[in-house]
């Protein structure tokens, strides 16, 4: 199992490369993608590494084909992944919806760059936060992680695979250009200490009559894979427990509620946040990704000036950790939300916050420096 995988130890590595090594440890053995800055190193490194561990790599004709190939491989039982940036993520939305409806585990890495459209290919952005939640049509509950260093490019890639296998759905690692391109220190733990989750398979034999691949008695149904002998109908149409298209409000109620409930009921297990100097904070930054790296320093300088500042860092963006944000807001006077977009995660914050919420909207192309965030902290502290 561990043959060909990166050995445990200390490394100095690029974020995108750390993501690939983590995916291989998580069990990823198929990658289909189309190169796009600033995610291309993932594709490039996968093309080199996957054959070494007995996996398969395909460079597809575009991102639509990439996500569909990934979903196909996953339905055959192989842990699969793709990586892209904003323009490619837009193209993948139809496939992501198909993955949600068919309950197909996979991981999509979106290394955010400046948008909209082709935007600024080589420079940073955080403008895909809402798209990662609801980019495809219809109701689903996204699981999205936002790394803020090279170590988390590694750790959260493994968590993304684990969540995708546990809840049987596509999971997004929402990185950004700086975190992905940056080199930083990485500790690879002993492989047997890394938690790996694998999808559950049916425990009944393939030939039993009335086999239900989407059996309602399960919160997350075991996955009957192509080639195992089960009669499985995989469709993007609203379907019943047998997987057959069924167009009634009753079946739709079961189908759609099932898709969102499996995540909503387990949200607390999926939520991950970092509390930074929050104990007595009355000015709270809510930050994620590269922007949180500026926020750490802004909070420290503000503290040295006697301002009681702190930060709640969102590691899980979706499902949104609403109860945690609400609790933090109950002791805060002001919440400041710095993000490299014109205001996205600020909306669910406002939905639950018990205090004033101020946005620090920063256009893509550069990271707001600690000074910029500090100025806002000083301003709201008056």
């Amino acid at each position: 199992m561990t043959e060909g995988l990166i050995p445990p130890g200390k490394y100095f590595m690029q974020g995108n490369v750390a993501c690939v090594e983590a995916a291989l440890i998580a069990g990823c053995r198929f990658f289909a993608g189309y190169p796009i800055t600033p995610s291309s190193e993932i594709l490039q490194w996968m093309s080199y590494r996957l054959p070494q561990v007995g996996g398969h790599f395909i460079q597809m004709e575009d991102e639509i084909a990439s996500i569909m190939a990934v979903l196909g491989a996953s339905n055959a039982g192989v842990k699969s992944m793709t990586a892209t940036s904003g323009p490619g993520f837009s193209l993948m939305q139809e496939g992501i919806g198909f993955g949600m409806m068919t309950e197909t585990p996979c991981v999509i890495v979106n290394v955010q760059r400046g948008g909209p459209s082709t935007g600024i290919p080589t420079l940073v952005g955080q403008g895909d936060v809402m798209q990662a939640r609801w980019g495809s049509h219809g109701d689903y509950e996204a699981i999205v992680y936002a790394p803020n260093n090279v170590q988390e490019m590694f750790d959260l890639t493994i968590k993304a695979f684990n969540a995708s296998e546990e809840y049987r759905q596509p999971v997004v690692l929402l990185a950004d250009q700086v975190i992905s391109h940056m080199y930083g220190s990485l500790t690879v733990p002993p492989h047997d200490e890394i938690k790996i989750v694998n999808r559950k398979l049916p425990c009944v034999p393939p030939n039993i009559p009335d086999f239900k691949p989407f059996d309602a008695k399960y919160e997350v149904p075991p996955m009957a894979l192509a080639g195992m002998g089960y009669r499985v109908h995989v469709t993007g149409l609203t379907h019943d427990e047998r997987g057959y298209p069924y167009y009634t409000h009753e079946v739709s109620t079961w189908c759609v509620k099932h898709l969102v409930s499996k995540v909503r009921n387990n949200a607390k297990k999926i939520w991950e946040v970092e509390h930074f100097m929050l104990e007595d904070a009355d000015i709270v930054l809510i930050s994620y990704g590269i922007t949180s790296r500026s926020s750490y320093q802004a909070v420290k300088i503000a503290r040295s000036e006697g301002i009681k500042a702190g930060m709640l860092r969102l590691i899980t963006l979706w499902p949104f950790p609403d109860e945690i944000v609400k609790k933090v807001s109950e002791q805060a006077k002001v919440i400041v939300v710095p993000e490299i977009n014109m205001g996205q995660i600020i909306h669910p914050v406002r939905e639950v916050a018990e205090c004033l919420v101020v946005g620090l909207s920063w256009a893509p192309g550069a990271v707001p420096t600690p000074d910029v965030i500090l100025d806002t902290i000083r301003y709201v502290s008056r």
Binding site: F12, V178, M182, G184, S185, P370
Partner: protein
Amino acid sequence: MVRWDISLFGSGGQGIIRGGQILSEAAVLEEGKDATLTIAYGPEQVGGWSRADVVISDEPIDFPLVTKPDVLVAMSQEGLDRSWKEGRVPKKLLIYDSELVNVSKIGGIKMVGLPATKIAEQLGRRVIANIVMLGALSEVTDIVRRESLLNVIRRKFPKALELNERAFMEGVKHAKEGATTV
């Protein structure tokens, strides 16, 4: 907390990014410090501008980018000019290739000039000018230990070990002689 912001600025093909990698790895893998390396370059593959920004700290690094370096290593005129134009003037020290960079208009900071590229050419390999510069950096700063840099270099270039060690020590020697405070 001791934090160093270092910018290596030159042209594509000069080993700027490799130089940044060696410096960062010396900090992380040899000394257990934290380091980040971010890179930027112009659209050209070779000959365009190329910059490696390294942050080294004995504590976990908060903000990983370099906005104003403590030390600038300038290996091309464009590297120097762009740094000044973009307000990235070094706070403590400028190390420059004295054959390639004209510093006659620069003043007010400590400067160390050495003909790194020429030294590398004399050793037979122009591409090891970056190693010469790292030797100079180890002489005039205490960002990382000399032995740490040499250990990383030995690990990275086992086939050209002696040449790289010589290039490094030439950098040390010239930096000793070339320090000029203006």
